[in-house]
């Protein structure tokens, strides 16, 4: 961590029935610079806060306006129960950190930092997966371009592949893009290298 995580100006939504524990939690969140709204009803999907803290002991499906662990915001689970079903619910909603009940205020800042870190990591990973899936999807094009280079230039597969890769590098294109241009006839057949 290079920079001190700073939650100043953040809007936190606390989904929990009001009690003395949430009073202390709200106070600590404000101390960390957050503005806090507390409610015990489903969060609106069109006005998401910067971070969400949810009661995982009593939370129900539909409380959070997303599904399947694809939380669009960092999520912290407030958990007193040790019941595996409740822990599974928190995971399912996409929680990146847990604050145990009864509350120790020293658990709040670490949980926010951890949930934020996990959230960012997940976004980065899903973007990477998306990118890789796109490349896998276009793999047949690369194969087709290699075959065409082999046939046109009378070289082996290894040689044809290198030709395609060098060509893409020179043009600063992804190999898949280069292959698509060759197969589609938009680019002349490259000379073998």
């Amino acid at each position: 961590m290079k920079e001190t995580p700073n939650f100043s100006g953040w809007h936190a939504a606390l989904l929990h029935r009001e009690d003395s524990m949430t009073d202390r939690l709200v106070r600590q969140l404000k101390l960390l610079g957050c503005s806090v709204t507390q409610q015990w009803q489903p969060l609106a999907a069109d006005a998401l806060p910067d971070i969400v803290l949810v009661d995982a002991d009593q939370g129900w499906d539909g409380l959070l306006p997303w599904a399947g662990g694809t939380a669009p915001r960092p999520l912290v689970a407030l958990l007193g129960s040790e019941a595996p079903g409740r822990i599974a619910w928190a995971i399912q909603q996409g929680a990146g950190a847990v604050i145990a009940k009864p509350l120790s205020v020293s658990a709040v800042y670490p949980a926010l930092v951890m949930a934020l870190g996990i959230h960012r990591e997940r976004i980065a990973i899903s973007q990477k997966i998306e990118h890789l899936e796109e490349r896998v999807r276009l793999r047949p094009l690369v194969h087709a371009a290699v075959q065409q280079i082999m046939a046109a230039r009378k070289v082996d597969e290894h040689h044809a592949y290198n030709t395609l890769r060098n060509c893409a590098m020179k043009r600063r294109m992804a190999m898949e893009q280069m292959a698509a241009s060759i197969v589609g006839g938009a680019e002349p057949m490259p000379e073998a290298v």
Partner: protein, 378 residues
Amino acid sequence: MRDAVKIGILYSTTGPYGSMGRDAWDGAELAIDELQDAYAGRIVPVFIDPKANIPDYLDGARSMLRDHGCRHIVGTITSLARKEVLPLVEKHDGLLWYMCPYEGFEANENVVYIGGCPNQHLLPVFDYLIPRYGNRPYLVGANYVWGWEMNRLARELIAAAGGEVLGERYLPFEETAVERIVADIELRRPSFILNNLIGPSSYAFLAAIKALGARDPAFRPDNCPVVSCDLTECELPDIGIGVATGQLSAAAYFDSIPTAENLDFKRRVAARFGASRRISSVFACAYTSLKLCAEAIIAAGTDDPVAVRRLLSAKPARSILGPILIDPETHHAALPFHLGRINDDNVFEIVTSQAAIAADPYLTGRNRRSVPQLRVVS
């Protein structure tokens, strides 16, 4: 309130920070004597010396809370000891009075923080040093959370100031082999040195820098000062006269502060400990913690931590550090800032001061005149 109220005092008088513990112990004793004179028999101290041994801190705190019925403990020097003792204090719903400068990022409801966090020491130190000496410091520290966090923040402040950290080195507690660090400093030629070393490591380092300055004027204190946020009068005798002359330290209190309250305080200390005794911020803050704690208990008519805390946050209490107000949200005292320069007589001469700064333990920019350029994570 008829019964006497017991207050625990938990300081190590031995180990790498023993001189600080002894000074804190003395400050607490002076406060207890004065409380005895003012409120005979109503405040009873329970002194325990854990001898720098972490399990003994736990045993001591447990004995105070459980066997003696203390609800208030004044004590611990290091963050390590504070964090160890805290769960016990929370469990017994007590209040820990912590009076050393520390690295921040804590606002526990069961603690009153009298020692200051980085926006009360490190940030004003850098505000002062960077325009005068440059933005290319070298960072040294003890290999534990104080050194790590202070240097991490320093790195961030330097990056925000467009500068460069020329080196960052750590030493284990009580390690005095500083030659390699000093050789690296000589090679890299920083603008100034931030010293977060503790005890004997720090003394050895200051002596080695003194020798370096004698060989090469670029490393004399007026060209490349060594600055600390926890070096006080109580350690200067261990360092020796003349060794650290010209070097800097930040504190909420120095012996040389020329206020009428402090002159009066010095007379009382001299009467009890002799005229040559120099008062450190450790001594002054331990004294202040006990006085604040006991006087709040007496005024509230109960040692209930909630009642005591409410009183301390309601209006400023008089103290030798000036009027002290505890923030009801952070549980930290607003503290004055002083930067002192050590002179040939091992006295800190005040270089610059600021009126009480409200604590901002999580560096959110709250209550601050100048918000540091920490980037918002979003």
